[in-house]
Amino acid sequence: MALTSLTADLAAACPDVRDATDADAVDGVRPSVVAAPATTEETAALLRVAAERDLAVVTRGAGTKLSWGRPPSRLDVVVDTRRMNRLVEHAAGDLIAGAQTGLPLAEFQSAVSATRQRLAIDEMVPGTTIGGLVATSPSGPRRLATGSVRDLLIGITVVRADGVVAKGGGKVVKNVAGYDLGKLMTGSFGTLAIVTEATFRLHPIPAADRWLTAPAESETQAGELVAAVLHSQVVPAALEVEWPVDGPGAVTVLIEGTAAGVDARAEQVAALLGGSAEAVDEPAHLLAYPWQHSPGATALKLTCRLSAVSDVLAVARAAGVHVQGSAGTGVLYGYLPADTDPAVVATAVEKLRATRVDRGGAVVVVDGPPAVKDAVDLWGPVAGLDLMRRVKDQFDPGRRLAPGRFVGGL
């Protein structure tokens, strides 16, 4: 392919085009060109050129989670979304806000916080953009009370692989007109379309909050503490468990509400957690993935039914996996250190996936070094994979959007 004419063609669609460098590689695969559209229309024009010339495209925001999933099977163009970084609308009285895809979540939060509102999604990976949020659906402790990206996304604008611009949902929270395109896009790793705008439901920032934590000596005790809080009526905003491979674990609870209400509920929580419970400052380590300080680690997402949390903790520790996460929703995260032999990782994943006990969830390798990605099936069994292939075939029959990045090679 003649690079100059490729660049010229793309530049006609989107003025901000440059040759790629090694720093633009997506999980080890280097593109030819980086294009930074400023608008949905420029993104659409870019994708029309990509369609005409059969170019493979990966969308990149801040690039904080580019190594998640599998490397692209081919790659020509990285679409850098960071010029689309405007807050489109914040209707405080309606508790909604919409933003362009490249706006960093932190800036979004800062803008809406002026009216004491927030998008109730924890920034688990610093720097994450709105588009990255939708594409990968990261979640933290607060998902217990308010759900995850899928539950808060109410409207979306996307550009299809053929360059067609389409919207789903809208800017009202209650809306059942048409299919829920937003949910389909959430967590799709950029394999169905490029998201250029998203609108979310907001929540008021509570007047008061309190974190309480208690040690857990055994998996059983951790499970019991989790169950005690979960089945109480204190309505925690978060219910976290930590279960490192070496050393005692902990169960941590977040209470959010009015000042007086939080005081009373914190007392109830302390009673549920037992004598050694104590109030702590906001635990920064729980508001990030457990692997954040372990570059090269194998990152895992472990989901399970609520009553199986202690079982998962036991299997994870035996397999050498450090675990923390939202025990109250059954969404846990874990990691194996960077120097772990890929064969050992594979065995650990296999053990965690073993179905002798039906844990009602899945074990996904979120990220890991190339040798691990080669040795392990990242997603394990995926229910409905055949239908997912058909959805991909409909949206991106030429397999140009993030090819090979997602489940089943989608």
């Binding site: 389409a166 799709s188 109830q268 239908l387």
Partner: protein, 497 residues
């Protein structure tokens, strides 16, 4: 496009061939062919549309559903799923040359696990049945459409049903983790897991709210929610809907998320009084029902705040439910409102539209103007907290022209919703009734994109055809390059609006 182009001109199959297949595999009493009995299925909760199905299958198991759908797929005959038939958009309206597959015999709660906060239920299970089963364990199923005593979970899944309390707790889609589905091609697939975030595309999210156009669910895994420690309900009388709207805005602005905020205007109150003698404050131009729930320590504080904000906004009377009985009485007036307008008008249209909550005063003013100009009375009942309007457009079919005028007013209200950036349906669905309105809310490209999902699930367009989308997308076609009558229209599988 990789989709097959052989299927671009489907020929409509014959339901007698489906019947012949099903006679071999289903018991005789599962098949209804008698015209008189078929007619009992001619409509759902929107009785304005009536179509007698060619064949009814009373499914008793997932296998029955699979058998019925597979037969329809083999013969290219359309099918429609029906739960309790309470839908208000004609979503379960039968197809005249198709099969109606009825779920009402599948009413078993397969599993109830308070420890996992989950229940696994048959599609025909009644919404309230789940809550009643979970209640002894301190749990309930949160989505509570007004029809919850009769509507089915399968129907809730199809319509993504809401209810008065979805302001705080969300809709059916926020409470469904997994669905077993028979796809329109007759395959059985399990989507989702008991835990959230099943790997892959969120096909559960796409399926919930697809109004029966992506297949039929045979088992639903739902979230159970812990019953709140405290519930407090308040009825506030205001001189005008503007005052009640101001109170609503003030409550939201104070950072309070009530379980529900419901509003009724004077005409709706009049109807409710006539029907159920709910004894709402005399002379009220509007009433608000505000319910708070949650930990007692929070509810107590926020409830005092709500009382204060209502008074500041001009409430002339506040009534606080002292117990469950008084709470039930407050809700009785609100919940009976739809049926109650039958007392003050021979006929009425129940509209369902959404506006941004802050546009409430303006839109209510516009509706009043529409009503005055047309001479058509409109009673307003709505979920004020989330801007979901249910205007009841009153008319007398015996008076020539009134029905048409009421239709026009009803349609104009939807236009108002769209103009203000809202939606043509908040919870009743698009169904047969509003497919024609979809192009006013969505562009041709938006609708085309949604139908890519349809093509993945239902390439032949046999699952509840004619609903949701005004024009079917021919799977595999190049959009915008079409001439002559649409092949699906020609084949009788769909009608273009």
């Amino acid at each position: 496009m990789t989709a097959s182009t052989e299927s671009t001109t489907p020929t409509r199959g014959d339901v007698t061939a489906v019947l012949a297949r099903l006679r071999r595999s289903l018991p005789a009493d599962a098949l209804i062919t008698d015209p008189a009995r078929l007619r009992t299925y001619e409509c759902d909760g929107l009785a304005y549309y009536r179509v007698t199905p060619a064949l009814v299958v009373l499914a008793r198991s997932a296998d029955d559903i699979r058998t019925a759908v597979a037969a329809c797929a083999a013969e290219q005959v359309p099918f429609v799923a029906r739960g309790s038939g309470t839908g208000l958009s004609g979503g379960a309206l039968p197809h005249a040359d198709g099969v109606l597959i009825v779920m009402s015999q599948m009413r078993e709660i397969r599993e109830l696990s308070p420890a996992d906060q989950r229940a696994v239920v048959d599609p025909g299970v009644i919404n309230l049945q789940v809550t009643k089963a979970a209640q002894p364990h301190g749990y309930y199923f949160a989505p509570d459409p007004s029809s919850q005593q009769v509507c089915s979970i399968g129907g809730n899944v199809a319509e993504n049903s809401g209810g008065a309390h979805c302001l705080k707790y969300g809709f059916t889609t926020n409470h469904v983790l997994a669905v077993d589905v028979i796809t329109p091609t007759g395959e059985q697939v399990a989507l989702g897991t008991r835990a959230p975030d099943a790997p892959g595309y969120d096909l559960v999210g796409a399926f919930v709210g697809s109004e029966g156009t992506l297949g039929i669910t045979t088992a639903v895994t739902v979230r159970l929610v812990r019953a709140p420690e405290d519930v407090r309900t308040l009825l506030a009388g205001f001189r005008s809907t503007d005052d009640a709207g101001a109170a609503t805005s003030a409550i939201i602005a104070a950072g309070i998320v009530p379980a529900a905020i419901e509003m009724m205007d004077a005409l709706a109150i009049e109807a409710a009084e006539a029907a159920v003698h709910c004894n709402y404050p005399a002379g009220a131009g509007a009433v608000l029902v505000v319910e708070l729930d949650g930990p007692a320590a929070e509810v107590e504080h926020e409830f005092a705040e709500v009382e204060r904000l209502c008074q500041e906004a001009g409430a002339f009377e506040l009534r606080i439910a002292a117990d469950d009985e008084e709470r039930a009485l407050i809700w009785k007036g609100r919940k009976s409102a739809f049926a109650a307008v039958g007392r003050i008008s021979p006929n009425y249209i129940v509209q369902d539209g959404v506006i941004p909550r802050t546009a409430l005063p303006e839109v209510l003013g516009d509706i009043a103007r529409l009503s005055a100009e047309s001479g058509v009375r409109v009673a307003n009942v709505f979920h004020a907290g989330d801007g979901n309007l249910h205007p009841l457009v009153l008319f007398d079919d015996a008076v020539p022209g009134q029905g048409e005028r009421a239709e026009e007013v009803s349609g104009a209200i939807l236009d108002l919703c769209i103009t203000h950036g809202g939606s043509i349906t908040g919870e009743h669905g698009v169904g047969a009734d509003k497919a024609k309105h979809m192009p006013r809310m969505f562009s041709a490209d938006d609708l085309d994109t949604m139908q890519l999902i349809r093509c993945a699930f239902d390439p032949d367009g046999i699952s509840n055809p004619g609903k949701v989308f005004p024009t079917p997308r021919l799977c595999g076609e190049v959009p915008g390059k079409r001439s002559g009558a649409h092949p699906l229209v020609e084949a009788g599988l769909a009608e273009a609006y």
